[in-house]
Subunit: 342 residues, 2 copies
Amino acid sequence: MPTASSPLVVEVTRGPLVESRHAGILAVSDSAGRLEVSAGDVGRAVFPRSSAKLIQALPLVETGAADALGLTVEELAIAGASHNGEEAHVATALSMLRKAGLDGSALECGCQWPERGADVARLNRAGEVPTALHNNCSGKHAGFLCVACRLGAVTAGYVEPDHPVQREVTAALSALTDTPLDETVMGIDGCSIPTYAVPLDRLARAFARLGTGIGLGAARSDAAVRLRKAAAAAPFMVAGTGRFCTEVMTRFGERAYVKTGAEGVFCAIFPDAGLGVALKVDDGGTRASEALMAAVMERFVARDDEERAFLSRWSRRTLTNRRDITVGEVRLAADSRAALAA
Amino acid sequence: MPTASSPLVVEVTRGPLVESRHAGILAVSDSAGRLEVSAGDVGRAVFPRSSAKLIQALPLVETGAADALGLTVEELAIAGASHNGEEAHVATALSMLRKAGLDGSALECGCQWPERGADVARLNRAGEVPTALHNNCSGKHAGFLCVACRLGAVTAGYVEPDHPVQREVTAALSALTDTPLDETVMGIDGCSIPTYAVPLDRLARAFARLGTGIGLGAARSDAAVRLRKAAAAAPFMVAGTGRFCTEVMTRFGERAYVKTGAEGVFCAIFPDAGLGVALKVDDGGTRASEALMAAVMERFVARDDEERAFLSRWSRRTLTNRRDITVGEVRLAADSRAALAA
C-alpha cells in the first residue's frame, strides 16, 4: 500500500516504525456530483451501513410521524444515532416507543452490551442484562416503529425488506443516490435491516444534497434540515461519551454533520461549503476512518489553528498503552496528507 | 489490494459483496532459512509483539528459575500466554508470583479488564476492578519476576530495556533471529516491555529452530521443547475460552504450537514438518491473521478432511449479527487460497 485503487493511507506507528497501515478511498462532492476530492475508485459500491442513518430517518419526519408524536430534538437526533447505550440513550429510545404506544419488546434489532465499561458495570451490579434498548441502533429502530404506527402498518417484521417501513427507507436512499436499489447488492446489517451497496461518489453527492436541499423538493429538504439541526443540537444522542461524532458536532455545531458506519465507512455534510463526504477504509478499520474524516475537516471546515488543533487530535492521534505510556500514533501518511491538503 | 508487497488477501463478505479486505505477508521457513512459502516482502521488519512470548519465556527455564521454584506445566504455559483474564488465569499467574515470594503488586504490566463479559460481570458484581493479574500478559510478567529473583536482581523496573531480565529476553530473541537488536528499531509494547523489529523471514526461521532444536544448543533446545509441550498440555492457559490459540492447540496437541500477537502478527511451529511460520496482516486485523494461520495449517498440519473441516471454521468463518442471522463470512480470497495450497 498505497494501492492504485485505494490511495489514501493511514499509518499506525510504534516508536519509529510504521507498524500497521490502512488504505482507503474518499469522495467529496457537491450537489451536482462535481468531485472536489476523488481519491481512489470512488465508483466502487460500498454498504453505507450506519453512515446513512440520517437518510434512513427521513421517513420519520416526512410521513408526519415525528410531528404527530411530538418527538423532541433529542429523539430526532437518536433516530439517526449509533449510540453507546448509555442511560440517556436508553431512556430517549424508550420515550419514543412509548409515544407510539409501544415498549422495548417491539424492537427487532437484537440485544447489545453498552459500549462503555461504566454502563456495563451498572447493569452487572444491578444483576441485569442488556436489552434491545441498549443496542446502538435502538433509536433508529424506535423511529422505524414510529413510522410503522403512522402508516398503520403491522409493527412486527418492520426490519424486513418488503415491510412498508423499509420500503420508505429504501426509496429515500434510492432517490438520494440515484441508484435503483432493486438492481444493486443487498446485505443484512448488524441490526437486521437490509443494507444496499451504493457507489461511494453517489453517497457523497447524496449527503451534499441533504446539506443544500438542491433537487430534494421542499418536504425532503425541510426534513433533512430538521434532522441535521437535531444532531447539532443534541450531539450526545448521536454517539455518546468520548465518541468522534459527538465530540466533533459538539465543537462545530451545524457547520459539520458527521456519521460513522461499520467497516470503516464515514459520511459527512459540510453545509457552508455545500459539500458531502463519503469515505471507506478497505479493511474496515475505524481508527483510520476517523483519522481520514478529521483530515478532511481540517481542509474544508476548520477556520483557524485552534480548530485545526482540535481536529488533529483525531487525524494524528496519540496511542498510549495500559500504563498510559505513549507508544505511537495513528496518522495520515505524509503523501496522503499532502494530497488531501492540495 | 492485493498489493505487490502484500499479496495474501482475506475478504470479509456481507451478502454477495466483499465489504472489506485485509492484505498480509507470510513466511514459512525451515531451520536453515529455506522458505517453503514466501508471500510478499518477507524481509520487512515487524514487531513480533505477543507472538514471540515463547521466546521471551526461554530465560525462565534456561536460568533454572522454573526448576528452582517448582513451576507446573500450567505455569510454564501461562508464562507464554496472552490470556483472557479468566479466574484460572489470574490464579495461575498469582501462584507463580507467590512461589517467588511476591504478589500482584510487583507486576508492571498495567491493569486490564478481562476479555469475556462473564468475567467482567463477576468483577462488577463483587464491586471489584481489574488488577495487573487480569492483564493478558500477567503470566509472562510473572515469569519475568521469577527470572529477576533467580538472577538476584531488583524486581522493580524489570520491564526496562537495560534491566537484567530484559537483557536476557532480548539476547534470546537476538540469537534466535540472528538480528543484532541494538541495531534495530525498538518500540514499547502494550505491557510496557520493549519490542524489537525483526524481519518476518527470520522470525519464521526462529520458530523453525525452536521446533527442531537445530543450532540452539542442548539447554536452549530443551527449554524450547519444555515450553512447547507445556502449551500443548495446558492450552487453556495460553489464551482461554473460545480463542483460536487454545482451540487449535487443544485439537492438535504437540503437532502445532500457535501464538497470536497484536496488530495482526501470528507465529507457529509445526514440529513434524520442521517448519516455523510468521505472518503479518498489514492493517493489524486479527480476524484476518487467524484466517491466514488456519489456512497455513490446512496445508502443513491437517491430515484428513475432519481436521481440514475443523480449521476451515477459522479460515472461512461465518459472521452472524446480533440476532444470530448469518450476514457474511471471513475467508481467504480465491487466489490467495490457491497460492497457499500450491
